[in-house]
Symmetry: C2
Subunit: 762 residues, 2 copies
């Protein structure tokens, strides 16, 4: 696709325009989910299981219902029968519908600490809380299983009596906590290992972490007298929420309207419907609007966190560093229902390495913890921590500089991704070339004990899916772009740049808004680093469509064929006769008065080819030998973004990703104690703050993607992939201690350093 | 246009489907303008002039601003300068922008009792009320002029120092209260009168009346930190409100989003922005959302009522009843700013009569009363009262049966309307033919004194303008039609029928929603009996567009040309090979997964040719000779609706129009006393209730319109046109007293009867 950005004189693409929602957000005036107030609105609260694993023998809500001000109580019995064949229903729903029902309200079994058992709607939140205490639940407590390796043992407590491991072969004879086994391979790994000069195998683990969004999960619903459902949702995908409500509650799609609220952070954690179906159920029973807002503790206990991992990595290399075989066994913990991001981890794993002999085995395992959701490049951070520290060890063992090792094995266009598809144009080599010349790599660390520098690569394939938009040209020549594409990352801002560029109008003349499901053409969720890429392409198409309508109007006015009409900078003219011209504003005004009609462009794209995203990070750390505490001295993120539509926003994404990755690497973990979460607050769950990290330096590299508008690639996810490896490798250089588990807390580092000391002494 | 309705087997067109919003409305759960609540919302109140005519010398709001809880006070000084050349800005705004500014807040002069002087936003309505009392206004009181005839006198007080009568000729030398003079003629009226056997001239007057909607006028606005304006409006046209706010406050269209609320009655009275710009001004100053809700007294004093009229009617007729010349002088009272519906009255006047020699003179006159708005067939009811009683007198003088007289003069296709355009297919003759055979006309009145039967005709041209809609086909095969066309009269219901018919799907699979200006393609207001006709055509076009996309998807699947794809009842197949088929639901689901993309049909129509609407009513009344009170015994409305998409809804429109027409004819009037309105409540302003009228019988006649979908004509307005004449003629038959002025109150009738007695005696 020829791109505007390639032409000289792009006015808005590539410029760091201010975020359109910045002022609203920093002044607290943006309308988030909890800001909704409706006439007669009730407040919903959820009763949660205190047991990580228990049969629910009986629920008696009569006392709660009798409480003054209580308008409805719902339990699993309130769900209609479900079409079990519906599965995940195409692209709209990314979770099994039967599981989603049980995640919404536990049916026969409570499967984790905090699992929702019943919900209440009352006139005040206080009454609703009191009503929860009046609901009697009889549990038969079962032993929980907390870790995926334990869950895979033959005699482990079973979460689901009818869960059989999905494999390519026959159905297993016995139910299991292993929901799925995937395997992918090419070449002959055994031969590859046999041909290697060095075969190296290591084992890793990471724990459950939270996306750490600021805005608690919330939902409001209103089922009107005619049955029409309106949902106000803080979500990454309004059409997915619509589908969830529709399928769970047996309401056709056109009877559900989902209105997007401003989202106060999501990072993958606001994809599945968690509260929306509950709010709808309560509203339908009560006949009034119902709002549910989770407390922070509820968010930790009962929304979908990031998945923990166990992994075994094995590689074979020649003396010169060339990989001869790669193997990964990836065991991911899905929490209480299947769906860990094993596929994501597998895709990321050896993405930055070309190798002919490859085998990946993946396990999707259920445990008594909340069902995971996506978390920024889902699966990518844990597996890259494993692969990148492994590769660092291999390079060291071979006596090869870690950067040179990666250059030796870096893939290029035509090399195969882990899914066996050949890469189109990619920037991995260019990234490594840039690092080799960059001061973050070439300048030695300032002298000091316990200091070290680490390097790690990262990869993310990026989702594409479907995006659509309409562009209305108003009668004063201003333009409104409407779509159901939720803005998490500045989408409205970059989209505005695209419209202004394509329509060749001042950017002030363009407004972008996120509409609801009733008024917007179908669009998949905002996730997978797909919005700038796929939605950008849809916006581009909508602009071209609107422009063609305007050209048609001009052609009608001049009585020429549309092909004769030229356009630039707000002016249409006839090719052969430039004196026949009309400006866009006049055409727009006339469109209401003449038969031409209002201009409404429609653009939609489905399943472009992937725009692969690569990154590499360089981290300098200092470790306090007395405490194990890590201070990050300098951090530089290199990333191929294809084309930065808005460089400052791209930097924001890169910095945010690094910061979350650093939290995952160093401090964050769900502390489970016999199945009970002990740290469900931001005081005890330690995310890095601005005080914990230096300014993250960003090196934006632009190797245009093969498809999509302007060569843009998604940028949001890959920055969270390398930090675990970069920091672990830096800590190793600083301390001599290799860490194989995340998080690398001060205790863990101190302990690893002690072991190293003992080994040296011993 | 070949119409589905013409085909045998139409499933939904012509069926009395329940109104989709009926349940919401009768249960009070529909969300009207006053039901809005927003976080931090303030309450606005308006200070109103106690003087009908006064200079505003000084406004001092300091004490009000100092009151605790008051967040903003605005006066005319807060308006930005205005582009005076903007005028009415095409089709979007039906009032002069400079006038609209002065209507929103009086600038230098208060021009009627209740004219808005200043507005306050405060944390509670009570504080806002108290603040109003603290605003000091210094007035220089001027003599008011109440009646248009007085206003036209040479020495009448002038409302506007710079208002010069608009005529076709030169600009007058002196300002005047006559805003405009219009004249239209054909043939030679003087020769026509000379050729007549009977020349008859009569004089009429009607007074100011209110549309009588239940829901008081209201508006809510929120100007966000980034300047984006959101307006929640109970209006007939969201795009007109958007334009008003944009033009008055100098905000580009794309920075204003207008969200339609359910409308609790409008009838023409909710077209112009009355409170919206005020709410925006207040919100912009206060930085918080502001809601303003009028009291009933405010609605009466300061919204746009129906226009009063003075008229002189003169006709020439041959002995056989054939009209040789018609003349009307129509003086309409616009209230304080120009814009009385003189054009509407002129169009209606002799619409039901064919005549070669015609002259109509019209005057648009300003007086010290609130600026009128449209009221159902604006101008039609008063002028038809005049014409139809005049024609009744002429027929009587000629000794011709009133029905026969009208048959003699009834126009047909090709005859000219009052605007000189030839009628396309029309149903006037068919209506009269049907009356001639109908029991309401053929059955004699049951015997009794003071009983009489009256007949009157009515005409309405109907607006067309621009309408647009999008149709989204959801992945489960259900469909959502979105547009900015406000539903006043059941538009969602009939539109749903059109979509189900055109898409050949069950009506349950279709939902119709009214979107906001940001998400909906441009659509003009819901008024002028144009929605079923023009919007219906746009919906029809959107369906055809969606269907063509679906056919394209089917063609791609079967690898054939789109033209080969056939469709019926939810199934697509290939013409030559019916075994190649796919149902709509499957195609819809696949549209999200394949490159075909989501289906989004767009339809727009602009300025169809008019679908002329005719009606005739027959009324039987009994008059109490001791009080003059009229009892309506029987009332039958005959109307050519072209095609009744939903007969029960059409009947509802007819009955509602008759009921409002009867109120206008018999009981309703603004009681002004030296410029002050004395009856601004529903207790003192008497509208007919169900107890005051019999069941209105409806005779639906279907002569298909020449254009638009299914031959449909607008139906909402023409039923209010004949009642004044029908009831006046019946009262005459019952009492021998001719009434020339509306309303025909008991006092007026009693007095006319007394005069008649005296005349007989004398």
């Amino acid at each position: 696709m020829p791109t505007t950005a390639d032409k000289p004189g792009a006015k808005y693409i590539g410029k760091s325009i201010d975020k359109v929602d910045a002022l609203e957000r920093v002044t607290g005036k943006a309308t988030f989910g909890a800001d909704i107030h409706l006439p007669g609105m009730l407040h919903g609260k959820v009763l949660r299981s205190p047991h990580p694993h228990a049969w629910i023998k009986r629920i008696d809500a009569r006392k709660a219902l009798a409480l003054d001000g209580v308008k409805a109580v719902v339990t699993a019995a309130d769900f209609p029968p479900i079409d079990t064949a519906a599965g995940t229903i195409g692209g709209e729903l990314l979770v099994d519908i039967v599981d989603l029902r049980k995640m919404t309200l536990a049916h026969d079994k409570a499967l984790y600490d905090g699992h929702s058992i019943a919900a209440v709607a009352a006139t005040t939140p206080e009454i609703a809380e009191r009503a929860l205490e009046l609901i009697e639940v009889e549990y038969e407590v079962l032993p929980p299983v907390e870790d995926s390796l334990d869950a895979m043992k033959p005699n482990a407590p079973l979460l689901h009596e009818a869960l059989y491991t999905k494999t390519l072969g026959e159905k297993p004879s016995k139910p299991s906590n292993v929901a799925a086994y995937i395997e992918s391979s090419r070449g002959d790994v055994e031969r590859g290992f046999a041909e290697a000069d060095l075969v190296h195998e290591t084992t890793y683990s990471t724990v459950m972490v939270h996306q750490g969004y600021i805005e608690p999960t919330t939902a409001t619903a209103w089922v009107q007298a005619d049955g029409k459902v309106t949902v106000w949702s803080s979500t990454q995908g309004i059409f997915g929420i619509r589908r969830s409500v529709s399928s769970l509650l047996d309401i056709p799609l056109h009877r559900v309207n989902v209105i997007p609220m401003e989202v106060g952070g999501a990072f993958g954690g606001k994809i599945y419907a968690i509260l929306e179906p509950l709010a709808v159920l309560l509203s339908r029973k009560a006949g009034r609007p119902v709002k549910i807002v989770m407390s922070r503790a509820e968010v930790f206990r009962a929304t979908g966190p990031g998945s923990p991992m166990h992994a075994v990595i094995k590689t074979g290399t020649k003396k010169n560093g060339a990989l001869t075989a790669c193997y990964a066994k990836i065991i991911m913990d899905a929490g209480a229902f299947p769906g860990a991001p094993v596929g994501g981890a597998a895709a990321v794993s050896f993405g930055p390495y070309k190798v002919d002999n490859l085998k990946i085995e993946g396990y999707d395992v259920v445990t008594n913890k909340p069902r995971v959701q996506a978390y920024r490049a889902p699966g990518g951070t844990p597996i890259a921590f494993a692969i990148e520290t492994h590769m660092d060890e291999v390079a060291e063992k071979l006596g090869i500089d870690p950067l040179k090792f990666r250059v030796t094995n870096a893939p290029d266009e035509g090399d195969k991704a882990t899914n066996d598809q050949p890469y189109n144009r990619i920037g991995m080599k260019e990234i490594l070339r840039r690092i080799s010349r960059h001061s973050s790599w070439t300048t030695p660390l300032e002298p000091g004990p316990h200091r070290g520098r680490g390097l790690a690569c990262g990869y993310w394939q990026g989702a594409t899916l479907t995006s659509s938009a309409t562009l209305m040209v108003n009668s004063d020549g201003t333009m409104t772009l409407n779509s159901g594409q939720v803005d998490l990352t500045g989408t409205r801002t970059t989209t505005r740049q695209i419209v202004a560029e394509e329509m060749q109008v001042p950017i002030e003349d363009v407004d972008v808004r996120v509409g609801d499901t009733d008024s917007s053409p179908y669009t998949d969720l905002s996730a997978g680093s797909r919005t700038a890429y796929s939605f950008g392409a849809a916006v581009n198409a909508a602009c071209k469509h609107a422009l063609s309508q305007l050209k048609g109007h001009a052609a009608a006015q001049f009585k020429v064929d549309s092909k004769e009409v030229q356009y630039a900078n707000g002016k249409f003219w006839v090719r052969e006769n430039p004196e026949q011209n009309v400006n866009l504003r006049t055409l727009a005004a006339n469109s209401l008065r003449r038969a031409s009609g209002p201009v409404c462009g429609y653009g939609t794209v489905t399943r472009l080819q992937a725009a692969h995203q690569f990154a590499a990070h360089v981290a300098d750390v200092e470790v306090d030998p007395d405490t194990g505490k890590v201070t990050v001295l300098r951090y530089t993120a290199f990333q191929d973004v294809g084309k930065a539509i808005n460089p400052v926003q791209v930097e924001g994404q890169m910095q945010g990703g690094v910061s979350q990755g650093a939290g995952w690497a160093l401090t964050e973990y769900y502390h489970y104690d016999k199945g009970t979460l002990r740290n469900p607050t931001f005081l005890d769950y330690r995310m890095p703050t601005a005080l914990d990290l230096p300014m993250i330096d960003c090196e934006i590299i632009e190797v245009p993607a093969s498809d999509g508008p302007y060569g843009v690639r998604g940028v949001g996810e890959v920055p969270i992939v390398p930090p675990g490896g970069a920091l672990a490798n830096a800590i190793y250089r600083a301390t001599g201690a290799r860490l194989y588990n995340l998080p690398m807390t001060p205790e863990a580092i101190f302990s690893a350093m002690q072991k190293g000391q003992k080994r040296k002494k011993g």
